[in-house]
């Protein structure tokens, strides 16, 4: 029987555990903005593109005779997903009608590029399985360091600038009229999604990374109200599910990505039930104070905030 002490002292398990916590903290932060922008499938598209990056990294690694052969897989995934993210944001901006098509091309092109390039690198599509579905045994110290750096960047932007990012994603027209840097924010969110995909794919897998961005946010929406509380609750749910799912796979031979995602879906269903029960117990009146309650306070004082 593996004890908690074994987990914490063994590099084989400690590194995945650290990455699981980082995924749990970062994925819902990015997911909150993607859900708000109604771009829930962006993470999926970027996951597929990251596969092409893995294969390119492998190809370059083979060319440089790197050891192990997939030494450059994660840096390759990082580069490919960031380029893909910026590209999809550009397409989204110049053409509002072809968003779905652009995402579909990302999906298909990413996975097709991955299997073709991995073959050119002398590998087979089997080499991609660990990246598609996640694997504990492939996590290295370098992966952990890269994940830590990416997580710090994502949290610094996603939490540090949450007011700005929330305002732009909630109402882009108002944000533009207010002089907010809308284009910069949209690119930042896309790049954050790319960084999160890269740091998550080792454990959760490229095919399921998007679930950890979206499902905890959807679950949190059943439990709390407000943008900030939704984001914080989703982070708690995702950390618990990522760590819990990982620990389950330590004792039971199951793919970690699948277990983690199933746990988040379990929380989502539980949240749904909680909300239904709450709704049955009390009916929330839509009405509030009428106009008669207004105007008792003076208007905000003029001039205090003007530059």
């Amino acid at each position: 029987m593996i004890s908690m002490l074994d987990i914490l002292t063994s590099d084989l398990l400690r590194y995945p555990l650290i990455i699981a916590v980082l995924i749990g903290l970062t994925a819902p932060v990015v997911g909150t903005y993607l859900v708000q922008k109604r771009l829930s499938l962006l993470g999926d598209g970027l996951g597929h593109v990251a596969l092409t990056g893995v294969a390119v990294g492998w190809l370059v690694g083979a060319w440089l005779a790197a050891t192990p052969a997939d030494l450059l897989a994660i840096p390759g995934a990082l580069a490919a997903s960031v380029i893909g993210a910026v590209l999809i944001e550009y397409v989204r901006e110049i053409s509002h009608t072809s968003r779905d098509v652009a995402l579909a091309i990302l999906f298909y092109g990413g996975i097709a590029g991955g299997v073709v390039i991995i073959q050119l690198a002398g590998g087979t599509s089997q080499n991609l399985m660990g990246y598609l579905f996640g694997s504990l045994s492939t996590v290295t110290r370098l992966d952990t360091v890269i994940a830590l750096v990416l997580a710090v960047v994502v949290l610094a932007i996603g939490v540090g600038l949450s007011g700005l990012l929330a305002a732009v994603t909630a109402d882009e027209e108002f944000a533009r009229a207010s002089g907010l840097p809308v284009r910069l924010v949209n690119v930042l969110i896309a790049v954050m999604a790319a960084l999160t995909v890269t740091l998550s794919m080792r454990i959760v897998g490229a095919l399921m990374v998007s679930a950890l961005m979206i499902v905890p946010v959807a679950a949190a929406q059943h439990l709390v109200v407000g943008f900030t509380r939704t984001m914080r609750t989703a982070m708690v749910i995702a950390v618990l599910c990522a760590v819990g799912g990982l620990l389950i796979t330590v004792y039971v031979d199951l793919p970690p990505g699948g277990v983690i995602v199933l746990l988040t879906i379990g929380v989502y269903v539980a949240g749904l039930i909680v909300r239904s029960v709450r709704g049955a117990r009390r009916t929330t009146p839509v009405g509030g104070p009428g106009p008669a309650a207004a105007g008792s306070a003076p208007l905000p004082a003029r001039g205090a905030s003007h530059p």
Partner: protein, 254 residues
């Protein structure tokens, strides 16, 4: 009184095309500090397009727009602008509370960290009678309540220019009176207001100047009492909006 010396809004020769079709033709508009101006016209006449061009949301094909003395593309002028877009519901799918929504109005080109606990947020919610619902998600509010929250989001910036797109749309009569009273107070304090309206409604008597658009062109810019009106037989005697819907009917000055 306003701190602006020159015109608050200065649009010259503005044309806008959308989807390859020109929807605004060579429009000139100049609004002085403290004015309350109504922008009237039929559906599709170009009112919202002109408004969005004024606040810098839509790029011009030709012409220029200056806001509070600066080109609209420059950031600082936006900090002194309050804008209420046509759609009152926030576009996102995560329901922000009224307090969070109003706090986002404190953001600007160089202010990226709003605080929902800023006392100005509560003051703005209080001014529109929504203080008691500060913690409620805007998506769970009625249309009129959402409209009031969006107006509070514009007011919290303490704007010198307030630009509103159909603030009375979907709002019941008592709330319309509340909002109209708010506009009167703001106007009396020197705030410049540019309001898109279908009909002058509760602001009848307050609006001195009306700009009427038809097919993307200004067909009247002057006293509200002199604006073109439809034939009373049409059934909308006070409403300049159906101009476009009643093509072929004679339009004549009142």
């Amino acid at each position: 009184m306003s701190a602006v010396a020159g015109p608050v809004v200065e649009v010259a020769g503005a044309s806008v095309s959308r989807g390859g079709q020109r929807v605004l033709h060579d429009v000139d508009l100049r609004i002085e500090p403290g004015e309350l101006v109504a922008l009237l016209g039929a559906n599709g006449s170009g009112k919202s397009t002109l408004l969005r061009a004024v606040v810098g949301v839509l790029p011009l094909e030709t012409g220029t727009t200056r806001l509070l003395g600066r080109p609209v593309s420059q950031g600082p002028a936006h900090d002194r602008l309050g804008y209420v877009p046509q759609d009152s519901a926030e576009a996102g799918s995560i329901p922000a509370t009224a307090r969070e929504t109003v706090a986002s109005g404190l953001l600007g080109a160089r202010r990226w960290w709003p605080s929902a606990r800023d006392p100005r947020v509560d003051a703005a919610l209080e001014a529109v009678g929504m203080a008691d619902l500060a913690g409620r998600p805007v998506t769970r509010m009625s249309g009129g309540q959402r409209r009031r929250v969006m107006i509070a989001r514009a007011l919290v910036r303490d704007p010198e220019l307030l630009v509103l797109d159909e603030p009375f749309s979907g709002v019941d009569l008592p709330t319309q009176d509340l909002i109209a009273g708010l506009f009167r107070d703001l106007s009396a304090r020197g705030t410049t207001l540019l309001v898109v309206l279908h009909e002058t409604g509760p602001l009848t008597g307050d609006i001195r100047r009306a700009v009427v658009l038809d097919h993307g062109r200004v067909i009247h810019d002057g006293a509200e009492s002199d604006r073109p009106r439809l034939d009373p037989g049409h059934g909308h005697p006070e409403d300049a909006a159906p101009l476009d819907e009643c093509l072929g009917q004679e339009i004549h000055p009142a």
